[in-house]
Amino acid sequence: MNESQPIILLKNICKKFGQTEVLNNLNLYVLKNEFVTLLGPSGCGKTTTLRIIGGFEKQDSGDIFFEGKKINDVPPYQRKVNTVFQKYALFPHMNVFENIAFGLKIKKMDKKEISKKVDEMLELVNLQGFHKRSVESLSGGQQQRVAIARALVNQPEVLLLDEPLGALDLKLRKEMQIELKNIHKRTGITFVYVTHDQEEALTMSDTIVVMNKGKIQQIGTPQMIYNEPKNAFVADFIGESNIIDGKMLKDYSVEFAGHVFECLDKGFEVNEDVDVVVRPEDIKLVSPEDGMITGIVKSVTFKGVHYEMLVEAKGITWTIHNTQMAEAGTTIGMSLNPNDIHIMKKTEKA
């Protein structure tokens, strides 16, 4: 196989459920060994995309290619893909060993071989000795790990994960994120991951595909998505943002909140109306005289890692994250680096 040829290619995929257009001319490719995350709100089409890759849904139009070959009509049991389901879908009438061995038994593997591989898997997911346990007796985290083992033991080319960590508590979720990332590095399997949790996506992915209403909004590395959101939806969905109406006066110069700021973006029309995105943690607190904008602090909330302050300035409510705080009711000055001002074309928000 050509090294640069994508392992999965989706071309012009359309899918309707009843009257709702769930996928609208979707074009996407996944490279070998990549950890790709499909990220978006409920109903954006990310799970449907995953199910089309797995073969559980058939697209209305468009093609899907696996290692260069068209697999539109190939049923799930013939695709070199395995899935970790959202609610694990472990077989209740089988114990842990039988669940994990299921795929291997179908391949008619030798009994000793199967036993060896299952042992390896249980090691990998840290469930040594759990062979005879019944599925009901396991905790959520343990069931999840059995589900991962059951998929991985078949050594698929691609592993599909449908919001697998959703039902776990925060601490366990963070642990599993690290474990999954390690498994990805160790096995070299291509991961296609679906989640609505942007922090999860930023933590684990090589590439993030942000989706909304059946369309791809942006594709990029976590840093790119976070620092250079392409439109207001992405900016709003990833991390917290202040999104303000502004006017691009000329290249590198934008006016908003009654002040002209120097920025790093260009290529817009003169006096074009744009969306200006500023991250809460990028706004510097200064004295009112030194500030580019002055405003009054409306509320202060302690969030552990930082203080969250809501500041009213020029009719806009700004969200500011800072390790230092200013009392509610005080007047403060806000200052921005050109680097931290992101300009994007006006589009509909989420």
Binding site: G55, F85, A151
Partner: protein
């Protein structure tokens, strides 16, 4: 528990119509009335052990088992079809199975007479096409037909219910792991449907083994299954003692079969052991 008094009427009802009659049957089964008065004996049970009477029991069991088997063979595929994606409307289910059950049991059995008679509907159609007539009324076949017809819904519905409860994601997971339709059925659907199958078998076998209406109508006056036999002791021969003894034997048999069935129901893991 200050609402206990609400249960008292039912308790009285139960005592009058269930507990006392049960004890009466027990009493009659173990006694005999002759010139010396009433005495306790096991003679009634010994009488039943004669081959001529045992053969009736065996025949009833045999026919009931066969009818149950036919219901299973016919009912399981139907339940599968109903539970599959194509039949999402429960209206189809209602029309096909539940509405006929609203009709009177006797009427449904009678209607088979008109179908199967020498000059009945089926034979009229056959002779119209110059085909040989069928003569199955008043035979084992007619009785089995009647049993299957009447009890088939009781096999389909429990299996259907259990099949519907099977999480579709389990099927998807099995397919994902490489299982084709046959594998998915054998290793996932079938083992998980066993509780429904057991339910269905119980709900068909019990009425089948104790029926006397179906055998009387479709088997004819000379046709005797254990239900008819017991009825005859009470109604025609006034031998309440013998009739009660046989009833007791039947009750014990049914209790045993329920016991066997319930073992399968608890043993959910038993399905996995199949392979």
């Amino acid at each position: 528990m200050n609402k206990k008094w609400v249960a008292y009427p039912y308790l009285v009802w139960m005592i009058i119509f269930i507990v006392i009659p049960s004890f009466l049957i027990l009493f009659y089964a173990f006694t005999v009335r002759d010139e010396q008065g009433i005495r306790f004996t096991l003679d009634n049970f010994y009488k039943f052990c004669e081959p001529i009477y045992l053969s009736v029991l065996l025949k009833s069991l045999g026919l009931a088992l066969f009818s149950t088997f036919v219901c299973l063979i016919l009912g399981y595929p139907v339940a599968m079809i109903l539970a599959s994606k194509h039949f999402s409307k429960s209206a189809t289910l209602s029309i096909l199975f539940i509405i006929p059950m609203w009709m009177n049991f006797l009427l449904r059995t009678y209607s088979w007479l008109t179908l199967l008679e020498k000059n009945g509907i089926i034979n009229s159609i056959l002779s119209f096409f110059h085909l040989p007539k069928i003569d199955i009324l008043y035979t084992d076949t007619a009785v089995v037909l009647g049993m299957v017809y009447n009890f088939l819904p009781f096999m389909i519905l429990p299996i259907y219910t259990v099949l519907m409860k099977i999480d579709s994601k389990l099927v998807e997971a099995a397919q994902d792991l490489g299982g084709n339709s046959f594998t998915v059925f054998r290793r996932i659907t079938l083992p998980l449907s066993i509780p429904g199958v057991m339910s269905g078998i119980t709900m068909v076998f019990m009425p089948a083994v104790t029926t006397f209406v179906i055998s009387k109508l479709l088997g004819g006056g000379q046709y005797t299954l254990i239900g008819n036999f017991i009825e005859r002791q009470f109604i025609q021969l006034s031998d309440w003692n013998f009739g009660s003894a046989i009833s007791m034997v039947m009750m014990i048999l049914i209790l045993i079969s329920i016991g066997i069935m319930s073992k399968f129901d608890e043993d959910k893991g038993g399905g996995a052991a199949l392979w």
